[in-house]
């Protein structure tokens, strides 16, 4: 185990004109750690995620990432090409809507293979084999490898998006409501799959979700956001079992029991 964080976030703020997206967010993410960001719609979770993943430029603050060679680099000081390379290789981004993260008009195999080609793989047979392996890992039958994701169900599309992201063995994965919009049985399967993959691959992950059960199941640590601010953070079971802030107590007490 290394003793340096993978990601260092310092005072990230994002304003949309006078409106606050998120304000003064700081934390460290360690290798193998899963962080959940929870809060209701409009609380700034996705804005924060996008700022971290360089999909949005923060108004102020700094995000540093430890590269594979061990060097800490500030993301805003990287060139566009370097950031894109990081996005395609060492990072993954799982969108709530799979159509945003997949190419809907090319085959499932090509969707997974594309990221491999981005890191320099050229051998068609090998790429196809690896793509097939990953489809199996996310429980998509390999005889669907030549089908387009358009022909897949919502749950399958989401699993395909996950395979596409993980094929390059990223160290950090960002997820924006990865189980949103799926029915519960499909959700359970996806959650179990994610949990297994995160554990087996030793991934670090930042997951935005409004679903506290998802946070409980997947994350080690969580941050609660309201009106763009992190109002409470800590160990996931501590925040959920002993919420301190009024808003967190409201969130936790609003969970429906089945």
């Amino acid at each position: 185990m290394t003793d340096t964080p993978l990601l260092k976030v310092r005072d990230i703020s994002k304003f949309y004109g006078a409106r606050i997206g998120c304000q003064n967010v700081s934390f460290d993410l360690w290798p193998g750690e899963v962080l959940a960001i929870v809060g209701e719609s409009g609380s700034g979770k996705t804005t924060l995620l996008n700022c971290l993943a360089t999909r949005l430029m923060p108004t102020s603050g700094a995000v540093e990432y430890r590269m594979r060679d061990g060097e800490m680099r500030e993301l805003s000081r990287m060139s566009e090409a370097e950031r894109r390379f990081l996005m395609r290789t060492d990072w993954g981004f799982v969108h709530q809507n799979p159509a945003d993260g997949l190419r809907m008009a090319v085959s499932a195999g090509a969707n997974v293979g594309e990221r491999l080609m981005a890191v320099g793989d050229r051998h068609y047979g090998k790429i196809r084999e690896t793509a097939g392996d990953w489809l199996r890992r996310v429980e998509i039958s390999t005889d669907r490898i030549d089908d387009q994701p358009r022909a897949f169900s919502g749950g399958m599309r989401q699993r395909l998006q996950i395979a596409r992201n993980l094929v390059t063995a990223p160290r950090l994965i960002f997820m924006d409501e990865p189980t949103g919009g799926l029915d519960v049985s499909v959700q359970a399967r996806l959650l179990d799959l994610l949990r297994g993959l995160v554990q087996d691959l030793g991934l670090s992950a930042i997951i935005v979700t409004h679903d506290l059960a998802v946070a409980r199941l997947l994350s080690h640590r969580m941050m609660v956001m309201k009106d763009g601010l992190v109002i409470e953070q800590g160990l996931t079971d501590r925040v959920l079992d002993d919420p301190r802030e009024a808003y967190t107590q409201l969130l936790v007490s609003s969970i429906l029991q089945v």
Partner: protein, 235 residues
């Protein structure tokens, strides 16, 4: 060797923001310790805060003040102020917990639920599975259930999965929240035997046992929680 667990002048209250911010004092001036090889049982009527106290030690509940000192990796740590990453590493290596209820994960087989604390510490998967199977066999869980997710198991079966998971590691400190509550006499005896073995191995145990028979057999000392409670007697 330092005392594995020392709780010193701990206080805890809940602030209920949804009830006009009323403050419920739960406990104050909690001080006790558990030595290696000793089983300390928390006593007092139900509702007095015994489970809350275990949750404070495990880190599920934050404390307002005081110290919870634990020996972890050759160092003395105060869990009351430790960061999440430290608490997770303490739970992985030093501090185990058998809760009253099993929190099941969909689709994970009972045997893997039990093996997980070992694999999390880097034990080879096949070896961990073998140890897990031995634990489940000892607790008389029918073999045909091992490969099934425990969500559909009976209370007693889930509890045995939970116990197997909690006892599988060599954690130096073990917290037990009514581990024998929904077990029959035969399996209660198995659990008593497992507790005896932990004691012999020098593990510090802190537990809640409503079953008098079990309590008599395993307890070296009883700490009366009512002494720490502002209510003194339960509702």
């Amino acid at each position: 060797m330092a005392t594995p667990l020392v709780v010193s002048e701990v206080a805890k209250s809940f602030t209920m923001h949804l009830r006009d911010g009323i403050r419920l004092p739960v406990m104050s001036n909690v001080s006790f310790s558990v030595k290696a090889g000793e089983c300390v049982v928390l006593g007092g009527p139900s509702g007095i805060g015994k489970s809350s106290l275990l949750k404070m030690v495990y880190g599920n509940y934050a404390v307002d003040s005081g110290q919870i000192l634990i020996e972890h990796g050759g160092r003395l740590l105060d869990l009351a102020v430790a960061d999440p990453r430290t608490i997770l590493s303490v739970r992985r290596a030093t501090l185990g917990y058998v809760s009253q209820f099993l929190r099941t994960v969909p689709r994970v087989a009972a045997v893997d639920v039990v093996a997980e604390p070992l694999t999390a510490r880097g034990v080879d998967a096949a070896e961990a599975r073998e140890t897990a199977e031995a634990m489940l066999a000892r607790l008389n869980l029918p073999r045909e259930l091992w490969q099934l997710p425990p969500a559909t198991f009976s209370g007693g079966e889930q509890q045995r999965v939970n116990i197997a998971r909690g006892f599988i590691t060599d954690h130096r400190i073990l917290l037990l929240d009514e581990p024998t509550a929904s077990l029959d006499a035969k399996n209660r005896a198995v659990v008593v035997g497992m507790i005896e073995e932990k004691k012999a191995a020098g593990v510090a145990l802190l537990g809640i046992f409503h079953d008098e028979d079990v309590r008599e057999k395993v307890a070296d000392r009883i700490v009366d929680v009512s002494a720490f409670s502002p209510r003194k007697s339960a509702a």
